[in-house]
Subunit: 137 residues, 2 copies
């Protein structure tokens, strides 16, 4: 595989941040060094990093894909208010895969845990009331 400055920039930015950025966020950041880089290139390189095992896509319920260069097994928290993705310090439960496999005819190769709630930042702003819920009419 060839080398390219853009690829390095995407990789390095992803490895340097803990924000679990979306492609757009990576684009905005890398653009500071490479004003002419295209969003397509960012997407291509992010996918490539995932294929190469240098990054992972984070599972999300809402919104767009988020990427994480920390490929170690760890869990995420996603804020219901602002969609921030944070790392959580909870011991990784490798035995869960075994337990889940007991009554399952398929093969389990891993798992992911996503906690949700309100992140520290949003919590500050909503101290007065409880979490904001949109109610149906």
């Amino acid at each position: 595989m060839k080398h390219s400055a853009q690829r390095d920039a995407v990789r390095e930015y992803l490895k340097s941040t803990k924000t679990h950025p979306s492609a757009e966020m990576v684009y905005e950041e890398v653009r500071k060094q490479f004003p002419k880089i295209s969003l397509a290139t960012v997407y291509r390189n992010l996918s490539l990093l995932v294929e190469l095992g240098e990054a992972k896509k984070v599972a999300t319920v809402e919104g767009n894909d988020r990427f994480d260069a920390d490929t170690s097994e760890h869990y995420h928290f996603i804020c219901e208010e602002c969609n921030a993705v944070l790392d959580l310090e909870v011991p990784f439960a490798a035995q869960l895969d075994v337990e889940a496999g007991r009554n399952f005819a398929g093969t389990i190769t891993g798992h992911e845990v996503i906690f949700h709630g309100i992140c520290p930042e949003c919590k500050k702003h909503y101290v007065t009331g409880g979490p904001v819920k949109i109610s149906a009419k």
Copy 2:
């Protein structure tokens, strides 16, 4: 809120299946009874069911939104080959939220677990080799 035959059909189909269908899948199915229903109506009603708490969106890494009318706390398995979403019989670990909250300044309201691997169906077809991995060039 008003009643509508289409809404009932979407709700009933979702409650009747364990396939955790996408909007498109619901559309294809409900269309058998209501050939003129539009995909937009399916989307609208699925979102409504989620708002009403009668269904949940399933967190996924790849592909589009999947819906589940089983709102009880339970975990999912997603097949890396065919993207099938299956329920897994693993005890729900409510204490995880507490554990995760210990070193966290935000508020945790719940969590989701997604196991991944090869589903029973795909396993049959790929008996010969190991899991199919796309390698980078």
